[in-house]
């Protein structure tokens, strides 16, 4: 297989449950060595999509190919290439960490005991691996989950909300770990998240999903580098200020977020805008220019769908 063949290829994926379309016609590719973010608010269809990727839910229509194998038609061959954590890293809490790993190794069939020790070292659980999982912290469970996912040397790693419940240090550790995995072992990583900041820091490419539909798929840097500059205003009274901004022809986008107002406009017209505002009797208390973040893009695309 050449380097540019996708390790995960999703085409026209649909899922209808009780007449409701949960996932509508989704398609994307994930390539080896790439970290792919799957971004959307809670209830957008992220989890349903992920469950279809690992064979827990049967798609109503469409196809999933993993490393060239069709998941529906050639389940065993396809799923063998996948390591996953779906939602929380739930393991058998009455077994020890090692017993859990051995349990899943037996399911894969051909995993030597040395591989178990290897993944334990990889996630740095050597000291606690023979303790029962119920005594583990959430971070340790997360690491055990990743150890389990890596057991069969997968080509594709699927992680659902991997940073849930981790402290900032843990999140950072996980981020570095996943980056290393993708870079050194060429694993394609598919990460779902509703935390935009996370995805921005970790991922190479992002797909944004809302209400079951993919809104956009692109490289993170390309999404962020877009055309216009974002200017963040603070002004009194904010409502009237926002109204006024909207009337200006060169301001392309205005939106209120709490007491801030975000707008997009060409850099050279900031001065002119301030004058207009002041002339209208609006008190400008702060102007802050910054690059676009994923959050901006996300809110633009979803037009103010609430992000949990």
């Amino acid at each position: 297989m050449t380097q540019c063949d996708p390790v995960l290829s999703v085409r026209n994926l649909c899922k209808r449950i009780d007449g409701r379309e949960i996932v509508k016609d989704i398609q994307f590719d994930v390539f080896p060595g790439e970290i792919f973010g799957f971004l959307g608010p809670n209830g957008a269809g992220k989890t349903t999509t992920i469950r279809m990727l690992v064979g827990l839910i049967r798609p109503t229509a469409g196809s999933v190919h993993i490393a060239g194998h069709n998941l529906q038609k050639d389940f065993l061959k396809a799923i063998r290439q996948v390591g996953c954590i779906v939602e929380n890293p739930e393991m058998y809490s009455f077994l020890t960490g090692r017993e859990n790993l051995e349990h899943f190794a037996r399911m894969a069939g051909d995993i030597p005991p040395s591989r178990i020790d290897e993944v334990i070292r990889l996630v740095e659980l050597e000291n606690r691996i023979d303790d029962k999982v119920k005594t583990y912290s959430l971070g340790m469970r997360q690491r055990l989950g990743i150890a389990q996912a890596l057991l069969g040397r997968p080509k594709l790693l699927i992680l659902d909300e991997p940073t849930n419940g981790l402290d900032p240090a843990g999140i950072r550790e996980l981020r570095d770990f996943i980056r290393t995995l993708a870079r050194d072992e060429g694993i394609g990583v598919f990460i779902s998240s509703h935390i935009l900041h996370e995805v921005q820091l970790m991922c190479d490419r992002v797909a944004i999903i809302s209400q079951g539909q993919l809104l956009r798929t692109d490289r993170v840097d390309r999404l962020i580098d877009g055309d216009a500059l974002v200017v963040e205003w603070r002004m009194e009274p904010p409502a009237r200020g926002a109204e006024l901004l909207k009337t200006l022809p060169y301001v392309t986008h205005v939106e209120r977020r709490d007491h801030r107002i975000l707008s997009q406009l060409p850099e050279e017209r900031i001065g002119e805008t301030v004058r207009t505002l002041v002339d209208a009797g609006i008190l400008v208390t702060g102007i802050h220019r910054r690059g676009k973040t994923l959050e901006d893009i996300f809110l633009q695309l979803t037009e103010g769908d609430p992000i949990a």
Partner: protein, 330 residues
């Protein structure tokens, strides 16, 4: 195949490490001494009522009475054969110095199986069987289990195999514990004691034509085999409920209600003969061995075995179809 043994090992490991089976052993360890003591008390009261502690004299008298009746012409011929067998048994007691009211641990084991086959043993089975699939759902581990490179039917089959092994273990332990504990009070002898079996029901009448004597160890093996069959049927239906209902508490509740309803129906409505087609009215298989009166007309050992097998087969088909086809939603 090696892979499949690994799967069964996995499931057995989970059953054992979950401590449910340990709880069952503790229950047995507490209840068997209680039953033994109850039996012992019962025995003491009977001896007191007989007015004499000399059971040999009592038995001798019974044999003489029976022989006198045999000699008379008024007794129908088919009864005579049965009475001769009875006399044989009583003579055996006398010859081998066995008190028939307190005849040792093997007899306790036999009685214990006969009494527990319709409710007590099935309850123990339900405790293990009802969570074997549903717990994977309630713990959330089902998502990992079903996203591994193993076919779903194989996973479910390995669970079923593990369940049957666990049940066999429970039955074995029940037998061994009952023998060891009751032996302390009643003594460990009596394996070769003859026991009457081969009774048949025809309409209202007990047919004794085929009644014969077998040694007690043989009878116990047969009773254990029937108990195993009953427990397997209960386990299979429990297994189905465990697949369909994703909460352990609910699946256990459903099974308990069904079991108790089954044994109540037999007591309450023996004239309502359609209930013989239900699974849980057919659990008392050892009744066919011991010649205890069959309350519902038309029931026999082959009938009950067939009914239980059909229910089990239907249960398995439903369990496998549901498990293989169902989406794993939140």
């Amino acid at each position: 195949m090696r892979n499949f043994m690994g799967l069964i090992y996995n499931e057995l490991l989970k059953v054992i490490r979950k401590r449910r089976i340990l709880v069952i052993f503790l229950i047995l360890l507490v209840l068997i001494p209680v039953f033994t003591y109850a039996q012992y008390r019962n025995l003491k009261t009977t001896t007191e009522q007989m007015g004499t502690s000399d059971w040999r004299a009592h038995l001798q008298q019974q044999i003489i009475d029976a022989q006198n009746r045999l000699a008379s012409n008024r007794v129908p011929e088919e009864w005579k054969e049965f009475m001769r067998l009875r006399i044989q048994v009583q003579q055996y007691y006398l010859d081998h110095d066995i008190n028939p009211t307190a005849p040792g641990a093997p007899t306790f084991v036999r009685k214990f199986i006969e009494e527990s086959i319709s409710l007590f043993l099935p309850l123990l089975v339900v405790v293990v069987a009802s969570d074997i699939v549903s717990s994977e759902y309630s713990q959330g581990t089902i998502k990992l289990l079903l996203s591994r490179p193993v076919r779903r039917w194989k996973i479910l089959l390995s669970k079923y195999a593990a369940l049957l092994l666990a049940i066999s273990l429970i039955l074995l332990i029940t037998g061994i514990l009952a023998y060891l504990v009751s032996g302390v009070v009643f003594g460990y002898g009596g394996w070769n004691m003859p026991v009457l079996t081969g009774f048949q029901m025809k309409g209202e009448h007990l047919i004794t034509d085929y009644v014969h004597l077998i040694p007690q160890w043989k009878y116990i093996l047969m009773a254990l085999g029937l108990a195993w069959f009953t427990c397997t049927a209960v386990a299979t239906l429990s297994f189905m409920v465990s697949v369909l209902v994703r909460s352990t508490a609910a699946s256990m509740g459903i099974m308990l209600a069904a079991l108790i309803a089954g044994s109540l129906l037999v007591q309450l409505a023996p004239t309502w003969t359609s209930i013989k087609y239900l699974a849980f009215t057919n659990l008392q298989l050892t009744n066919y061995l011991s010649g205890a009166p069959i309350l519902i007309e038309g029931m026999s050992l082959p009938f009950s075995l067939t009914v239980l097998s059909l229910w089990s087969a239907a249960g398995l088909i439903i369990a496998f179809t549901a498990f293989i086809r169902r989406d794993v939603l939140a």
